[in-house]
């Protein structure tokens, strides 16, 4: 169960890094972003149909998401069953907020994911005047000109950063990669760097759009 959790989590780490890098293309303007969006659909194009690779990748992500959430809820219920009588006085052990928020933070990220997909993939929620489906770049810029959309994303990215911070370290421990003092330090530094790079990288485009640094023309 824990191995399943660690491995599916590792796939997500790889994915969010790619996703974050891709988002930065918005700084190159709407055209660059649209070209990138199109390119995602034409990878391996003569072999696969249009959008084929993207759909294969999405299927993989859904499988990993199911595995990650299933193992999380399984371990959660086991932990609840392991202490049915609670302490009257329990000093929160010197646990960091990032490790204590793994479960509720994960649930929050799941809810955010639903919102995020409705907004940008399924296009059911359209916020902003030009939020139409024909140009991914215009859609993004129009959406993030609305302050509360940006606020939702900033909160979600704080949650993602904390989840990655503890998650990357925890996965290295579960996979048995932290047997020496040096490897433990490496795992902690890697976790911090991945968490910071991902959340900062993701948060830059929405903020830049909100404050009018990227205008989309």
């Amino acid at each position: 169960m824990k191995l399943l959790m660690a491995l599916s989590g590792a796939l997500f780490v790889f994915y969010v890094l790619l996703h974050m890098y891709g988002n930065l293309k918005i700084f190159g303007g709407v055209a660059a972003f649209d070209e990138y969006a199109l390119h995602l659909r034409t990878i391996l194009m003569p072999i696969l149909p249009f959008g084929g690779f993207l759909w294969l990748f999405r299927v993989l992500l859904v499988v990993a998401l199911v595995a990650h959430a299933y193992s999380a809820f399984y371990l959660w219920s086991r932990a609840r069953g392991a202490r049915t009588t609670r302490y009257v006085a329990k000093q929160a052990a010197q646990a960091t907020i990032r490790s204590r928020m793994m479960r509720w933070g994960g649930v929050a990220l799941l809810l955010f994911l639903v919102w995020h997909l409705l907004q940008f993939t399924i296009l059911k929620i359209n916020v902003g005047p030009d939020a139409v489906g024909d140009s991914a770049g215009k859609l993004v810029i129009s959406s993030f000109q609305v302050w509360w959309v940006v606020l939702i994303y900033v909160l979600a990215l704080v949650a993602l950063g904390m989840h990655l911070w503890h998650g990357v370290w925890s996965a290295s421990q579960t996979l048995g990669w932290t047997n020496s003092a040096k490897s433990r330090r490496t795992a902690k530094v890697t976790a911090t760097v991945i968490a910071l790079v991902t959340s900062v990288g993701f948060v830059l485009p929405p903020l830049a759009i909100l404050f009018g640094i990227v205008k989309g023309n």
């Binding site: 169960m1 824990k2 191995l3 371990l75 086991r78 932990a79 069953g81 392991a82 202490r83 049915t84 009588t85 609670r86 302490y87 009257v88 006085a89 329990k90 000093q91 052990a93 010197q94 646990a95 490790s99 204590r100 793994m102 503890h166 370290w169 925890s170 421990q173 579960t174 996979l175 048995g176 990669w177 932290t178 047997n179 433990r184």
Partner: protein, 247 residues
């Protein structure tokens, strides 16, 4: 010093327990925590009340028998066992909450006494080496590199008190199990059963109803023997290897 104690009283395994408040006075700061409870029990005896049941044996911090949740901290505020905790760690007028270890794998027998035989069953599942008995073998016939001997000794310091389980937000026994697996896994004598050991211990641990590890580290900071968190990594590494080899 004068203290107010709030202690968990429970008449038997099935009985419903509750917190009861007891004032104690004239406690010397040189007393150990258990001696302080002895003083209270003498007073209860004198009044014809049922004394508070708690576990203890060596009172030297090496047997692992005692263990109380003291104001929300396993073994109280110092890095030591409950028996080696002294009243100088508290101040006059303190209110101290005393509870048993809380884990469904450690059911309460009476008051502050819990049944930790689930730990024994984990050891029976694999925390041993098989060796022919008889005369002791020549000590130098099996060389052990110094770093490995040191790490094995460090892990072998685990006294099985259960503080790790008590402190863990998931009531997981992984630090205890990791200590045993590291202890035996570092030594040549532990190699023949290494793969089978980790698989059967983990399976017994899960069967006993302990939770899973989420790498928070509360176990290690509560451990009176300061067993480091990396023994859990060792356990995970051994488990991964054993599963890949089809154990």
């Amino acid at each position: 010093m004068n203290l107010t104690l709030k202690i968990w009283r429970q008449a038997g395994p099935q009985a419903k327990g509750e917190m009861v408040t007891y004032p104690v006075s004239d406690i010397s700061e040189d007393m150990s925590f258990l001696e302080m409870l002895d003083v209270l029990n003498e007073q209860l005896n004198a009044r014809g009340e049922e004394p508070i049941a708690f576990d203890s044996d060596c009172r030297e911090g090496i047997c692992g028998m005692c263990g109380l949740m003291i104001s929300g901290k396993a073994h109280g505020p110092e890095v030591t066992t409950t028996c080696q905790l002294h009243m100088r760690s508290f101040s006059d007028g303190d209110e101290i909450t005393i509870e048993p270890w809380r884990a469904d794998a450690f059911p309460v027998i009476k008051d502050l006494v819990v049944d930790r035989s689930s730990f024994d069953r984990i050891i029976q599942a694999g925390g041993f080496i098989s060796a022919n008995t008889g005369s002791a073998p020549e000590a130098h016939s099996v060389p052990v590199p110094k770093p490995k001997a040191d790490r094995a000794f460090m892990a072998a310091a685990c006294i099985g008190c259960g503080a790790c389980v008590a402190a863990c937000p998931n009531a997981s026994g992984m630090l205890f199990m990791g200590a045993k697996i590291t202890h035996l896994g570092e030594l040549p004598q532990g190699q023949p059963e290494r793969d089978a050991r980790v698989v059967s211990m983990v399976s017994q641990h899960d069967h006993e109803g302990f939770g899973g590890c989420t790498n928070v580290g509360a176990c290690s900071s509560a451990c009176p023997k300061e067993i480091p968190l990396d023994v859990i990594n060792q356990l995970n590494k051994d488990l991964r290897g054993a599963l890949m080899r089809g154990e």
